[in-house]
Amino acid sequence: MSSLSSARLKRSIALHLFLTPLALIWLFPLWMMVVFSTMPDNGIFSPGIELLPHGNFIDNFNNLQRDTDFVGAIIISVCVAVTYTVLSVLLTSMAGWALARYQFFGKSVVVAIILGTITLPYAVVLIPQFIMVARDFKLANTWVALIVPPLFNSLGVLFMRQSFSMMPDDLFDAARVEGVKEWRIFVFIALPLARPMLAALCIILFLASWNNYLWPLLINSQPGSMTAPVALGTLIGLTKVSWGGIMAGAVMLTVPMLIVFVLLQRHFIAGIAAGAVK
């Protein structure tokens, strides 16, 4: 017995000896983001090795705000992400409910199309989407342009379909016998039961909107209509720019999401893992 447990101990030590350096390497870019955001520019571009935070974050933030209206961009990003999340959760859970609980004409076609879009590159729709929104609808540089086109989301619908189809039939049938209308069953029985799944979906959707880059870069390119990642991206590559400022912006985009991740880790992981477990 003692030899068994000493073998376990050795294995455990080997495991930690391997995993700890890997974890440190993985955390290193995030750590350096924080360190850079607190260093003056002449400190970032100096020959020494600096691995600990300094006290220059506020100055860096002021430099960033001088280079671009980052606070304005953050406000747009927050409003857009919140609106997008609410609308998208509504749309995807309604569609997921229909696919999970009703038999209807054309259902297999709808499911096949949704599955098909998972593996279709977004690049294929990008150009016509841009032409349509910018030229035909004349909606470039508006919030609508940022919120509406990305509302179609296939993994979210499949996730909600899965969640609703796992609920017992009796529950809904009992309500139907009482004469409760279908939309009330959905709103007052199904949605409250799906709360944990809705939380997971909300986090994933919010994050997707918050971090979205390519579409907002193309469609909202005017200063004053840019989202925060786009505003920050315009500074990368400029010659006369405060890198401490860029890093302060990166921290402001990242740290709130890391906090959400830590607080709601279980929902987060459930949302991502849902893609695979069918």
């Binding site: 376990r8 294995r11 455990s12 495991l15 930690h16 995993l19 890997l22 993985w26 955390l27 870019p29 350096m32 983001m33 850079f36 571009f45 020959p47 090795i49 309604m94 569609a95 229909a98 609980r101 009703y102 209807f104 593996t119 590159p121 977004y122 690049a123 294929v124 990008l126 150009i127 016509p128 989407q129 349509m132 086109p149 179609f152 619908v157 279908e182 959905f186 918050w210 971090n211 880059y213 920050l232 991206g233 990368i236 590559g237 860029i246 890093m247 990166a250 985009l253 990242t254 999401m257 890391l258 959400v260 991740f261 880790q265 987060f268 992981i269 991502i272 893992a273 893609g275 695979a276």
Partner: protein, 286 residues
């Protein structure tokens, strides 16, 4: 389940409407645009115009080559790494599991712009922390941005850092759905842990691994932000230009929508081919 066409479609309509306007029509439209000369007003139908140019365009083949190169190196390395992370995070011997999970999963929430900026700074030639650390252990500096090979390596390192944890989450969930008694039986039969991995975990996880691989391939195929921001528009001299970047350059810098649509459909063709391979790999044995 009940047969109710009207009710079902009432729930589906808003979603399908968005889908029709912003996906179905664009899919058709970009196919049509790829057969048009779009730099004349009005656009005119010219079937061979863009596709003919594509076949003879060295910039296209350069982008295709770079994209495929990143694909065949980065995706397998990342999936293997994600597998290692998932197996080790799943080990009952692991202490402080939450900390390790945080370390590997945290990049999942980091936006492309934020991490591109950090990587650019970390890998800069003279003042980048990576070269300073290489120097301090006696290795020469690497010029990550002006030579093609290190620049490609940098793109692959960045993408792997960002996405390995994401795949590890999916693989870990797959592993945890394998019933414990399978392993208990194997342990009773004195099957080593390594053999258990190769003969139980891997085969049962195959559909999940293929799912991860396909998602990663589709994602990497459209790679845009990293070569756009980290290696400065696909530099050095187009050395890290990807199909995504070529599409951006043609479509939104040169406003050549027809040619960019042809590039987009090439990506779609590749994606369809890969999906078919996936379906073939995960087909039910008869």
């Amino acid at each position: 389940m009940r047969n109710r066409n009207a009710t079902a479609y009432r729930f589906l309509t808003p979603y399908l409407l968005i889908f029709a306007i912003f996906w179905v029509w664009p899919i058709i439209s970009s196919f049509l645009i790829s057969f048009q000369a779009t730099r004349t007003v009005p656009w005119r139908f010219a079937p061979g115009f863009n596709w003919g140019r594509l076949i003879g365009d060295p910039a296209f083949f350069n982008a295709l080559k770079n994209t495929l190169l990143i694909l065949v190196i980065q995706v397998p390395v990342m999936i293997a790494l994600a597998m290692v992370m998932a197996v080790l995070l799943n080990s009952p011997l692991l202490k402080a599991r939450g900390l390790y999970r945080f370390a590997f999963f945290a990049p999942v929430v980091v936006g492309e712009v934020a991490y591109s900026a950090v990587f650019r700074l970390m890998f800069s030639l003279d003042f980048g922390i990576v070269n300073k650390l290489l120097n301090s252990i006696g290795l020469p500096k690497v010029d990550w941005f002006s030579n093609v090979t290190p620049a490609m390596a940098l793109i692959m390192i960045a993408v792997t850092w960002r996405w390995a944890g994401y795949n590890a989450i999916i693989l870990l969930a797959g592993m945890q759905s394998i019933p414990d008694d399978v392993y208990e039986a194997a342990t009773l039969d004195r099957v080593s842990k390594l053999k258990q991995f190769f003969y139980i975990t891997l085969p049962l996880l195959k559909p999940v691994i293929v799912f991860c691989a396909v998602l990663s391939i589709i994602g990497t195929m459209q790679l845009f932000t990293e070569p756009f921001l980290i290696t400065e528009r696909g530099g050095p001299g187009g050395g890290t230009e990807t199909l995504g970047l070529l599409l951006y350059r043609q479509g939104f810098r040169s406003l050549n929508f027809g040619y960019a649509s042809a590039v987009a459909y090439t990506m779609a063709g590749l994606a369809i081919a890969i999906t078919l391979v996936q379906l073939w790999l995960t087909r039910e044995p008869k």
